[in-house]
Point group: C2
Chain length 303, copies 2
Amino acid sequence: MESLKKRVAEFSQEAHDLYLNQSVPFLEGSPDPLQFYRDWIGPNKPCIIRNACSHWPALTREKVGSKVITVAVTPDGYADAVNGDRFVTPEERRMSFSSVLDVIEGKEHVGVFYVQKQSSNLLDELPELTDDLESHVPWMSDALGKLPDAVNFWLGEASAVTSMHKDHYENLYCVISGEKNFILLPPTDRPFIPYGVYQPAVYRQRDDGEFEVVNQSDSEKVPWIPLDPLDPDLDRYPEYRRARPLRCSVKAGEMLYLPSLWFHHVQQSHGCIAVNFWYDMEYDIKYNYFQLLEALSEVTRPP
Amino acid sequence: MESLKKRVAEFSQEAHDLYLNQSVPFLEGSPDPLQFYRDWIGPNKPCIIRNACSHWPALTREKVGSKVITVAVTPDGYADAVNGDRFVTPEERRMSFSSVLDVIEGKEHVGVFYVQKQSSNLLDELPELTDDLESHVPWMSDALGKLPDAVNFWLGEASAVTSMHKDHYENLYCVISGEKNFILLPPTDRPFIPYGVYQPAVYRQRDDGEFEVVNQSDSEKVPWIPLDPLDPDLDRYPEYRRARPLRCSVKAGEMLYLPSLWFHHVQQSHGCIAVNFWYDMEYDIKYNYFQLLEALSEVTRPP
């Protein structure tokens, strides 16, 4: 078992030596679809594309102020995150776009607000924007031979945090204004990333303004990552010492290609506006190998 | 260890369930480079392309008869194969192309002859052919963004066999005349494929016509696959029962895309002429994962 654990750790090391970059590289302008597939999607490596979405218009209160959108509200900015022995999701509140902008612009409020609904909210909730914003990224759709499965809109306060997780999507994350800050870990670092299984719960703001956590007792337990990469508890999760997180900042007009199954933790500048495109990943040989790595990671981790 | 072994076997099973085909599919005509990358190279899946090399001319005695080429000669057709406790390579003989054609056409001889030298022999030994034959496959070079590393020429007797092995190349195998028969195993079946380490040796025909095996005592031992997929010794290698070989026949005018790291065993019709293009593989995440699988395969196999 010790030799297996050692071999798995060597595997993660080899990934960095063989093909991963020590920082996230930049490309200039919209790439050629085939070259992008060959250099980034196939090898499952992140990059930032500059001058790729700078022609998108600013969102105005005039245009969409009266539209009602879904906002995630939490006491501390941590939506979809482990809190003690529970996995707590935010209170979802329906508000006008104008009211959200009021909060962003400093109107007194309780809790942290984040427009972050991940169910194609851009097209569902703000369809008028798709006249201005593109409904897909043409070179990415060409590369993958399909349209995005979801287009999501993000707008929130500086203290809103997306806890570390991975998605089953090829992700293009476009910053329209402000700045997003990512901590990224490759799938090959999976052996160093702890998972637990948690009781699902949801925040609910009481009439007195305080938040309570309400168990969703009819829901199945949720596997999630308890580790906070901003302040990792290395006594509890010593394997994480071997992980090699990449940090990157994505600025207005830039687009992060976040490959499928990469772990990511996200923060942002106050009022940052972003749109991301989720393209379904392929359940191919890389996914097959990742599943094996997941199993090995659980086998070789001390309980 | 038993549960690890079980998990590794499940992994190979999942590969077949998730994305592998039960037979090798056919494409019609030269594919679009991006689509070919996305559908076959990226996912590391073989296919046969029809009407892809039918415009290549026949080779004539008039044109290249006097050219001297390298021929592999063995007593039994097994070049580069395990024989007892040794890995035996063929006697390499320099002959005119005409003399090889004489052998193919039935002239009495001892041993089995195979033009199979894998060091870009087409360009080195028969450069005049490259006027007629293409020196690369344009859509494949476009897809991979590079030219082939080697172009090899194959011509041999029906009893010449290529023993099971894998290559670190993306391989396009074009049959000009006759037929090649492949047994293919995906890299994910690695856990079921036995490897041994063998003393290198070489065949040498004595003056009396008999072949002897001469140890290359100054050479390092060679890892190779002792199993013959035509007649697998399942008492000795019981794991091979779980392997799921694909068989395919590639006929004149057809081209097999044989992905990197796929195990293959090759036979052919008598006098079959073929040209193959080796493009360097990428040492990327798939290779990284395969290296881990190799290590697991050795750990979980009974000694």
